[in-house]
């Protein structure tokens, strides 16, 4: 009898109720935001900021769970979400690692497997040195590094990722040579610089703001086209907008930014992509979001649909070229 029920249930599988009509997709069970990095880092905070805004403004009526799957430098998250084919209740929150990871590691996913929903922020990169270091700008520091004959240490998060790429850019730009030392996170790199165990790092602003406030590290310049928007003072004398761009200090690097992206698993209905794009658009207009951008000193730029696809394609090609030159490509 009981067995019969189960058999019937299994048999009925083929005829399971069709999903809602294409126009109106809505989450019907708790939603999972899967962060492609460890807890406590930029990706985690990004996902939680989105969660906070959605929750405060009741943008969806299902609970949200933020789960960090940072194994394999974030590959774990992408593999996990890829396996949830067709289930738009699982969103993967990542960075450019969406398309750079498959280039450097033998992982079983490609960025084209996923349906990109939106890029919401671009994180800036800065050149940081120890608080009491005698350098005042990009030129003086890189010149010192050059004359030190490759003994200066550049700390960074992970290997063959954004930090190391930017370090290579700086080397090409100035002719200096650095010993790049990979740590597990930008936070660890920042502590190493504070303790004087490295000469510099290229952390995102939010990763080093605590140590900047204490005067243990200081930013020399930001790798952006323009200075960051005016805001409150961070230290006693300076705010983010007081930091010059590296370009104005004579660097040959125009800009270097890292997008924070959200993607859906393969096979998700187009309606779900549009639903989430709409939700994130609303998120990007909330006061919570503005506060998040200001606090983490990131640049808010909402991008979805065809724009996003085009952006990813160009950035993928550009990065691929660099990785090829470095001999990092495996796929």
């Amino acid at each position: 009898m009981r067995l019969a029920v189960i058999v019937a249930a299994v048999a009925a599988l083929g005829a399971s109720p069709a999903p809602l009509s294409a126009q109106e997709w809505k989450p019907t069970k708790p939603v999972e935001f899967v962060g492609a990095a460890g807890p406590g880092g930029g990706t985690d905070i990004f996902a939680r900021a989105v969660q906070l805004a959605i929750q405060n403004h009741k943008l969806i009526d299902q609970p949200i769970l933020v789960a960090n799957k940072g194994g394999g430098s974030g590959a774990e998250a992408f593999v996990y979400v890829k396996a949830a084919t067709g289930d738009p209740h699982k969103l993967v929150f990542g960075t450019s690692n969406l398309y750079t990871l498959p280039m450097v590691a033998k992982v079983a996913f490609k960025h084209t497997d996923f349906l990109p929903v939106a890029a919401m922020v671009f994180d800036e990169f800065m050149l940081w040195v120890k608080g009491d270091a005698p350098y005042s700008d990009y030129k003086s520091y890189t010149a010192a590094a050059k004359s030190a004959n490759g003994t200066y240490k550049m700390a960074g998060a992970l290997s063959k990722d954004t930090d190391q790429t930017l370090t290579r850019y700086i080397e090409k730009d100035t002719g200096a040579k650095f010993i790049y030392i990979p740590y597990r996170s930008g936070g660890e790199a920042s502590v190493q610089l504070s303790g004087g165990h490295a000469n510099s790092h290229v952390n995102n602003p939010s990763e080093s703001v605590g140590h900047w406030k204490a005067g243990q590290v200081k930013p020399l310049c930001v790798f952006a086209k323009e200075r960051m928007p005016k805001g409150a003072k961070v230290t006693e004398t300076q705010g983010w907008s007081d930091i010059p761009t590296c370009k104005e200090q004579g660097a040959g690097i125009e800009e270097y930014q890292m997008p924070r992206t959200v993607s859906l698993p393969p096979g998700s209905p187009q309606a779900a992509v549009e639903f989430w794009a709409g939700v994130f658009k609303k998120v990007s207009e909330t006061p919570e979001w503005k506060e998040y951008l200001e606090r983490t000193a990131q640049t808010g730029r909402y991008m979805a649909g065809a724009d996003l696809k085009a952006f990813i394609e160009t950035d993928e090609k550009r990065t691929r070229k660099v990785y090829e030159d470095e001999g990092w490509l495996v796929n």
Partner: protein, 163 residues
């Protein structure tokens, strides 16, 4: 009172040494995909794994040697009686894993607890079924509902729209 040996200790020592040796060889094989040398900046990615693998192989060979030629009394790994008890416990676990993979952990749990309690514990089917369902309900409440940790579900739950 000598009990009949199902597996002798020497046999098991040999089998284990072979297994760890094979694991060591696999580690060595997996690490030669990377540079196994000591470069300008210290050990490369394959340096430690390769040597660890090699040492495991050496250690396993030593253990194999002890097992084959070492002096040891004819000791027993498991007696027939013990083996039966262990299998009686391990095989239902194996069944639980297989059933869970196809039907999900809830049904797997109910069937497993039912089977073990009725056929090994000697409980009545009603009590066994009640306990199985109680555990499954508790699992459902605690994991997916309170702590939002979804468990492995099968086709039945998917069809019912549960997660």
């Amino acid at each position: 009172m000598t009990e009949r040996a199902l597996v002798s200790r020497a046999t098991m020592e040999i089998a284990t040494a072979l297994a760890t040796g094979a694991a060591g060889a696999a580690v060595m094989w997996g690490s030669i995909e990377h540079d196994i040398g000591w470069g300008d900046s210290g050990p490369a990615a394959g340096y430690f794994p390769f040597r660890i693998g090699a040492l495991i192989v050496l250690g396993s060979l030593a253990n194999l040697g002890f097992a084959l030629w070492g002096r040891h009394e004819h000791s027993v790994f498991v007696t027939a009686e013990q083996g039966k008890r262990v299998l009686a416990f391990a095989l239902p676990i194996l069944g639980f894993v297989i059933v869970s993979l196809f039907l999900g952990m809830y049904l797997g749990t109910i069937l497993y607890l039912f089977f073990v309690m009725v056929f090994q514990g000697g409980y009545g089917p009603i009590r066994a079924l009640a306990l199985g369902i109680a555990v499954a309900v508790a699992m459902r409440l605690i994991f997916p509902l309170w702590f939002k940790v979804p468990l492995l579900i099968g086709p039945l739950e998917a069809w019912l729209g549960l997660y």
